[in-house]
């Protein structure tokens, strides 16, 4: 079982952090010394996060209107939207100040990084999520399905896989980048309660058979969305976590 929505509001308040206070000086100095393979993996993952976090921050608004009959849930979604916007700003700050990606705006920098992002990842965040958000804005009954995609698949599988891979890559790099490590750990901490909240919504919902099947198959497929930026073992690990999470919220599929 998972605790009630009130707990998530309190938790969110206690976990606030400011992305502008993270010192990236050492990271910026270390960046040019990255080996080519490290450079490609770290920048590729950062590029994916810029797209992913910007998209989730943008589209969470539709969820709030769909949840409008439950004030507590709206409060949690508002707290989460605040987190997601902060994550997007953090990753944009890293690509701007550490990787020195050119561009006047976040959108410009995302465009400059687009070639490094797999088509599967772009499809998830730039097509499927906006389409799902549009559906839930039109039909509030779609909220459970939308949470299934957003919290269980995009956050629970795709972003979690990328966060662990980036943290692992940073810690194993030939140079130290403490500011990025610190920021990633804080992002991961936020994502844990987001996933807990999504799991709570799914646990409380009357999820029908085809939705269960979709949650499972989408999650397994989405684990590979980062392409070769994430190892096969890490993909399998995230798939396992996804299946275990679904079982824990009462979705029994085998």
């Amino acid at each position: 079982m998972i605790t009630g929505y009130g707990h998530f509001v309190q938790l969110a308040e206690s976990l606030q952090w400011d992305e502008t206070t993270i010192d990236l000086t050492a990271d910026a100095e270390a960046w040019p010394k990255l080996e080519q393979e490290e450079f490609d993996q770290v920048l590729g993952l950062l590029a994916g996060f810029c797209v992913g976090e910007t998209s989730v921050a943008t589209h969470l608004t539709s969820f709030q209107s769909a949840a409008s009959t439950d004030d507590r849930m709206v409060e949690v979604l508002q707290a989460q939207a605040r987190d997601e916007a902060r994550h997007a700003r953090f990753f944009d700050r890293v690509v701007r100040e550490v990787a020195e990606i050119p561009g006047d705006t976040m959108a410009d920098r995302i465009d400059a990084l687009r070639d490094r992002i797999s088509p599967d990842l772009l499809e998830l965040f730039e097509e499927r999520l906006p389409a799902t958000a549009a559906r839930v804005a039109e039909d509030h009954e779609q909220l459970t399905a939308a949470v299934g995609l957003y919290h269980m698949i995009l956050e629970g599988v795709v972003l979690t896989a990328g966060q662990h891979a980036l943290l692992q890559a940073l810690k194993g790099c030939s140079v130290k980048m403490p500011g990025m490590v610190k920021g990633m750990e804080l992002v991961l901490r936020d994502e844990r309660w987001h996933i807990g909240f999504g799991s709570r919504v799914i646990q409380s919902a009357d999820v029908v058979d085809d939705q269960m099947e979709e949650l499972l198959t989408q999650g397994v497929k989405a684990a590979s969305a980062w392409g070769d930026l994430i190892s096969h073992d890490d993909i399998k690990h995230v798939e396992h976590l996804h299946q275990r999470r679904l079982k824990s919220v009462g979705i029994k599929f085998w």
């Binding site: 079982m1 605790t3 707990h7 938790l11 309660w193 799991s199 275990r244």
Partner: protein, 71 residues
């Protein structure tokens, strides 16, 4: 004549994952992870992880009786 008084069995302590809100209930255990129902939290192996968010056992705290009634 004496009346036997029986005490209600003490409720097993539940544990909260402070990272994601998952509550471990000893009565339920975590069978999917090989933890049978009836297993107190203290007896779970140290490498067990939260089934929702993957947090470690050390990220849990014991709930007070009646805490978090909103389920």
């Amino acid at each position: 004549m004496t009346v036997e008084q029986t005490e209600a069995p003490a409720e097993a302590t539940r544990w909260l994952c402070e990272m994601c809100g998952f509550i471990y209930d000893p009565e339920e255990g975590d069978p999917d992870s090989g933890i049978p129902p009836g297993t107190p939290f203290e007896d779970i192996p140290d490498d067990w992880m939260c089934p929702i968010c993957g947090a470690e056992k050390s990220d849990f705290r014991a709930l007070e009786p009646g805490e978090f009634p909103e389920m």
